[in-house]
């Protein structure tokens, strides 16, 4: 993630069956371990910067049971880091579901295994039915961030402090806390936060190195990014997106029609929306959620990079000009789509100066 590319790219949600797209197309993503390993190695070879998982504990039923199959993200990331050389891999952790002392040592382990390439995506959680699986009460929206604040404060102290400490918070009362080793090479893991509500942003302002946003309104992106960044130049702003593209506009339209309209799983898209609403995702209005039905089908409500390759490149250019540092993208199939990304998309981004070509591997 620390390379010089102006617009960074990562794979998103590949630890979950079907990735971001609710389609019955037979080539939809199967999140086996072998597929994950292959996709991440291909992404690394192509020079992509990161892989970002989604923490999911159950599927959404329906025909394809999108994301019914999901690998746990910390162990997933650690295994990928052990099997790669350059790419950064994130773990996505629901803070309410794991003790911060446990998580802090897991993260340090992953960070050491990856020689510093591990990043932590901290999420407060929104999916009520998943919390019920744990018998864990979901707190009121604003209180979730107070809890997350304590959780992250503890984790950071575990990573940095050289003497045992007690912690007397509202949610945690800990005695004699101390852990070694520290994160790799004296550097802390990159902390990412996706909070977009006011308390979410306030939390991110205090703790996160990278902010992860849902692009809600295309017309106000530049303003939204400025507002999220809030003057902090060193902080990266990333967004989620999904890429459904082909070389020409016509091919892309046909492919999109096939994936979304012919093979789309609308019941699943609706289910996903319903789950979002049940969890009180206040950062998106209920009205907006309804409008996003098709976007939930094509990419779980993330930003659409859809069209011929030149259209996609133009969109990325606009996002970059608006101040976005990169995007985590979902693909219908993270292996099958990589050659096209490598041969058609990346060279165009390089020509625009948004990314630098990878050096040819030395023989």
């Amino acid at each position: 993630v620390y390379n010089g590319n102006a617009f960074k790219l990562g794979l998103f949600a590949l630890n979950c069956g079907s990735g971001l797209t609710q389609t019955n197309a037979p080539e939809r993503w199967e999140a086996t371990w072998d597929n994950n390993l292959r996709a991440v190695r291909l992404a690394e070879e192509a020079g992509l910067e990161f892989a970002l998982p989604v923490a999911r504990w159950h599927g959404y039923g329906g025909k394809t049971d999108t994301r019914g199959s999901a690998l746990e993200t910390l162990t997933w990331a650690t295994a990928l880091l052990a099997a790669t050389e350059r790419i950064a891999v994130f773990g996505t952790v629901h803070v309410a579901l794991v003790n911060p002392i446990f998580a802090a040592k897991q993260v340090v382990t992953a960070h050491n295994v990856g020689h510093g390439r591990f990043g932590l995506n901290v999420v407060s959680g929104w999916n009520l039915s998943e919390f019920e699986m744990f018998g864990t009460e979901m707190r009121e929206h604003d209180e979730r961030y107070a809890f997350t604040e304590e959780w992250v404060t503890i984790v950071k102290r575990v990573w940095t402090e050289n003497e045992p400490f007690d912690f007397d918070g509202r949610y945690f009362k800990l005695r004699g806390v101390f852990a070694n080793p520290k994160p790799y090479d004296g550097k802390l893991p990159l902390l990412m936060s996706a909070g977009s509500s006011p308390p979410g942003r306030a939390f991110a302002r205090r703790h996160a190195d990278a902010l992860f946003m849902v692009i809600d309104d295309e017309n106000t992106i530049a303003h939204d990014i400025r507002s999220i960044r809030d003057g902090r130049e060193g902080v990266g702003v990333f967004a989620s997106g999904h890429l459904i593209f082909r070389k020409t506009e016509r091919e892309a339209a046909e492919y999109y029609h096939y994936i979304v309209h012919e093979m789309g799983d609308w019941a699943m898209a609706d289910h996903l929306l319903a789950a979002r609403i049940a969890g009180g995702a206040r950062s998106l209005s209920a009205e907006r959620l309804k409008q996003l039905r098709e976007r939930h089908l094509s990419g779980a409500g993330t930003y659409p990079l859809i069209g011929g390759v030149d259209t996609v490149v133009q969109r990325i250019k606009q996002l970059s000009e608006a101040g976005l540092d990169g995007m985590a993208i979902g693909l219908v199939n993270y292996i099958d789509e990589m050659p096209l990304i490598r041969e058609e998309l990346l060279p165009r981004l390089e020509r625009l100066g948004l990314r630098r070509p990878l050096l040819a591997p030395t023989p």
Binding site: E72, T78, A79, V113, E132, R175, V177
Partner: protein, 389 residues
């Protein structure tokens, strides 16, 4: 090669061998010798690859959250065992790697998915060592109050039942226990290959042993003396039989192998007596005493401080290669299916053990294969078998 052929724990070797404790700085040895184990990731990775290539069946970590102080602060540096295991599994071919998990510190729904991920990343080579109770001063770090002794095992049984059900059940289930209340619990994927990870437990008290014989595939029991072990192994098998189960009895040994027995004994005296970190050893004992360590044989455990210094009270196997191989064969003959080995410096000492002791174990008929080639079918009644769901 079918997946089954890659499960090293399922080798045909009568005596399975493992490496114990490399995820912790100082490993098992509470000693000031400068060559003591670093516990670094680099050394862990190099060791795992080395023992993987040598046909060793398993690697077993210790779940530790803080050091024991003293001069050397043993176990001050530890990796979390499930992520550690997953990384080692991704970097090896055939060895089984366990995670050692304190059930009270992690939610079973969370844990079940971690284990499955580790299991898939290794095509079925992950194993679970479940721990029900531990040192209260470590639990204090988590803000977790330890339950009463026997209650811990009731909690552990619920915890493990939930993990197992998530591994096997195809439809969501509600769970209403004394400790957990879950709605529509479900998880996909299931463990790799229609099997499930091995379950290991080291319960030593009456309640602990009862838990282990009911729930575990492998019971780790302390080996005090070969004489006593005969009764212990018989007792465990008898307890399991009353439940209609069979269980593999395993233990830990501390190995010092040198060209001559006197060299080995001299080194043992040096690192475990002359250079022992007594302050750290007392801290460890103090922790156990203060917080109600209820192993029935606690007095015996405590009596031999040198064994504690050498390897958590593990049974010492010292000598030249003939003697070490002979001792291991004797332990195997008593009925131990597997032994987890400690070395002062695993990386420095394992090559000699591999080159000199493993071939002797073959000649003694205790192990068939040392080159990493394993039969695809487990031999019935010869140790750790494949677990079909």
């Amino acid at each position: 090669v079918s997946a089954a052929g890659r499960f090293a724990m399922y080798s045909a070797n009568r005596l399975k061998l493992g490496i114990f404790g490399p995820n912790c700085s100082s490993g098992l040895a509470v000693t000031k010798v400068p060559e003591r184990w670093s516990g670094s990731w680099r050394d862990n990775l190099a060791l795992a690859r080395m023992v993987d290539a040598a046909g060793i069946e398993f690697i077993l970590p210790v779940g530790r959250w803080k050091g024991y102080g003293g001069v050397t602060d043993p176990s001050a540096e530890t990796f979390e065992t499930v992520t550690w295991a997953t990384a080692l599994l991704a970097a090896t071919q055939q060895v089984t790697v366990f995670g050692t998990v304190h059930a009270p510190l992690i939610h079973p729904v969370y844990a079940a998915k971690m284990f499955v991920t580790a299991d898939h990343a290794s095509e079925g080579r992950f194993g679970l060592n479940v721990v029900c109770g531990w040192n209260q001063d470590e639990f204090d770090m988590f803000g977790t109050e330890q339950r009463g002794h026997d209650d811990r095992y009731a909690y552990g049984a619920e915890w493990l039942e939930i993990v197992m059900r998530l591994w096997t059940e195809e439809t969501p289930f509600d769970y209403d226990g004394a400790y957990f209340h879950l709605k529509h619990a479900q998880a996909l994927p299931k463990p790799y290959g229609g099997e499930r990870p091995l379950i290991m437990n080291a319960g030593a008290s009456p309640a602990g042993k009862a838990f282990a014989v009911r729930h575990a595939d492998d019971l780790f029991t302390r080996l005090y003396s070969l004489e006593q072990a005969v009764d212990d192994v018989r007792d465990i098998h008898a307890r399991a039989a009353t439940l209609g189960r069979s269980i593999n009895v395993c233990s830990t040994v501390n190995v010092v192998c040198r060209p001559t027995t006197s060299e080995a004994e001299e080194y043992y005296r040096y690192f475990a007596d002359e250079m022992a970190d007594w302050e750290a050893i007392d801290n460890r004992s103090g922790v156990a005493l203060k917080h109600g360590f209820q192993s029935a044989q606690y007095e015996q455990y405590h009596a031999d401080r040198m064994r504690q210094a050498a390897g958590y009270g593990s049974y010492p196997v010292l000598g030249d290669p003939d003697r070490v191989a002979g001792e291991l064969a004797k332990i195997s003959a008593i009925g131990f299916a597997g032994l987890a080995l400690g070395f002062v410096n695993y990386l420095a000492e394992f090559p000699y053990f591999r080159d000199e002791v493993l071939p002797r174990l073959e000649r003694l008929g205790v192990r068939n294969l040392t080159t990493g080639q394993h039969s695809q079918e487990p031999l019935a009644g010869t140790g750790i078998g494949k677990i079909a769901l």
